[in-house]
């Protein structure tokens, strides 16, 4: 067993877990944070994306023990004071989801993508950056729209226009 500790959504947590436990299972089963999904379980679909020390990673491809000592943010950690994060709000506004299964990973990936492209995003970049996130419902159009809208909003361009 591994004794681990990490900060999840600003809250310090400790646990004693099997060394082989994946981060996604620690989040879902030990912490009850079921917003992070297991889609493919083969590191391809991106439904399990969370942020570890500020970077988007696939939590099904990382041991919980590897994340010990790190700061983890999940989909549950995005909204503040009852207000949706701008990316969550944009997905709602632009109908960037249908069944919703991939959505937590899409939103976490989008937040990371916008952070890495402070100067803004074009459609080609958004589509290329979504390579690690699979959606089987939407055909991606509204997801791309939502991310571009959120990017504009967060960079302040929307207000200026």
């Amino acid at each position: 067993m591994a004794d681990i500790s990490m900060v999840i959504n600003g809250r310090e947590v400790r646990g004693s877990v099997e060394d082989r436990m994946l981060l996604v299972h620690f989040l879902r089963e030990s912490q009850g944070l079921t917003g992070t999904h297991v889609g493919c379980d083969t590191s391809q679909c991106g439904a399990c994306v969370v942020h570890v020390d500020g970077k988007a990673v696939k939590s099904c491809t990382m041991l919980a023990a590897q994340a010990s000592g790190c700061e983890v943010v999940t989909i549950e950690g995005l909204a503040k004071d009852g207000q949706l994060h701008p990316v969550q709000a944009a997905f709602k506004e632009h109908h960037g989801l249908q069944c919703g299964f991939c959505t937590p990973g899409m939103v976490m990936s989008a937040v990371d993508m916008i952070r890495r492209h402070p100067a803004g995003l074009d459609e080609k970049t958004v589509r290329a950056e979504l390579e690690g996130n699979i959606c089987r419902c939407t055909g991606y159009h509204n997801i791309v729209k939502a991310i571009m809208a959120a990017s504009e909003e967060m960079s302040g361009k929307a207000q200026a226009a």
């Binding site: 060394d19 082989r20 994946l22 379980d41 970077k55 491809t61 041991l63 590897q66 390579e131 690690g132």
Partner: protein, 266 residues
């Protein structure tokens, strides 16, 4: 995944010692191949030794045209490094097309070359750049390091600690990505160096990465895509699978090499 025991060393020496004490241990770099393999129970190491917390294996230094990349450097860090981009943009371009953004945040150059997947991108760059592979025991030329399908010259308890190379005058990488996995269905790295041109091919060879000497000779005479007109690559020894036949890959090698030269010439 079978049971395993997790270890977190803070130095290369400690990591080697931990592996020596393990029954059947494995070094864990970014884990983007090893963890999925363990989940499928295709690998079942008794111990995993996490190399992500070893400071001496991290970072990129660029001194004139001399480049050194710590083995623990992630693909994302290589892709975004401005100093590296100013002397060898081709390797940044290569790193920016490995897997997807999340994989690039975890996967490392050391992990990639130590695994020597026949469709991985970095082995082609190392071979074409005539890189030195530094390990916990020695330094090896890339020509000696890659020894076949998933094969390297590494001993069981040997860790890749860094790679180094002199930035070539020009370099380019072009790959035809598998539409599902983004691994190279065929990828070609070309490097135009004062000593001559080197061309390395990944994704195509049955024995993993290899140099295409006929193309090297042609490009050494004229570093232009047209120098490759009329060159054909034999399908012997190339992979055939549901994605592409050996003959298709043979053709792709020439096409990708031309694109790589074009990219190198800007």
């Amino acid at each position: 995944m079978y049971q395993t025991t997790y270890h977190r060393p803070s130095s290369v020496t400690e990591a080697v010692k931990m592996l020596g004490e393990a029954e059947d241990g494995k070094f864990l770099a970014g884990g983007q191949t090893l963890i999925p393999t363990m989940k499928q129970r295709l690998a079942a190491p008794s111990d995993v030794i996490d190399l992500r917390h070893i400071a001496e294996m991290k970072g990129i230094t660029v001194n004139g045209r001399d480049v050194r990349i710590g083995a623990g450097t992630t693909h994302a860090e290589v892709a975004e490094h401005t100093g590296l981009a100013s002397v060898c943009p081709a390797i940044c371009h290569l790193a920016s097309h490995i897997g997807d953004p999340h994989v690039r945040h975890m996967g490392t150059i050391g992990g990639s070359i130590a695994n020597n997947d026949p469709a991985a991108d970095y082995p082609a760059a190392m071979l074409a750049l005539n890189a030195m592979i530094h390990t916990s025991k020695r330094a090896l030329a890339a020509d000696e390091f890659f020894t076949g399908l998933f094969g390297t010259a590494l001993d069981e308890d040997e860790i890749v600690t860094a790679v180094s190379f002199t930035a070539p005058e020009k370099a380019g990488y072009a790959k035809f990505p598998n539409p599902a996995s983004r691994y190279a269905l065929t990828g070609v790295f070309v490097a135009n160096r004062p000593e001559g041109v080197r061309v390395a091919v990944t994704g195509a060879g049955e024995d993993g990465v290899f140099r295409a000497t006929a193309m090297e000779d042609a490009l050494s005479r004229s570093f232009d895509p047209s120098a490759l007109d009329g060159i054909t690559i034999s399908a012997d020894g190339l992979m055939s699978d549901i994605h592409a036949s050996a003959e298709y890959r043979a053709n792709l090698i020439v096409v990708m090499a031309k694109r790589a030269v074009q990219a190198a010439n800007g």
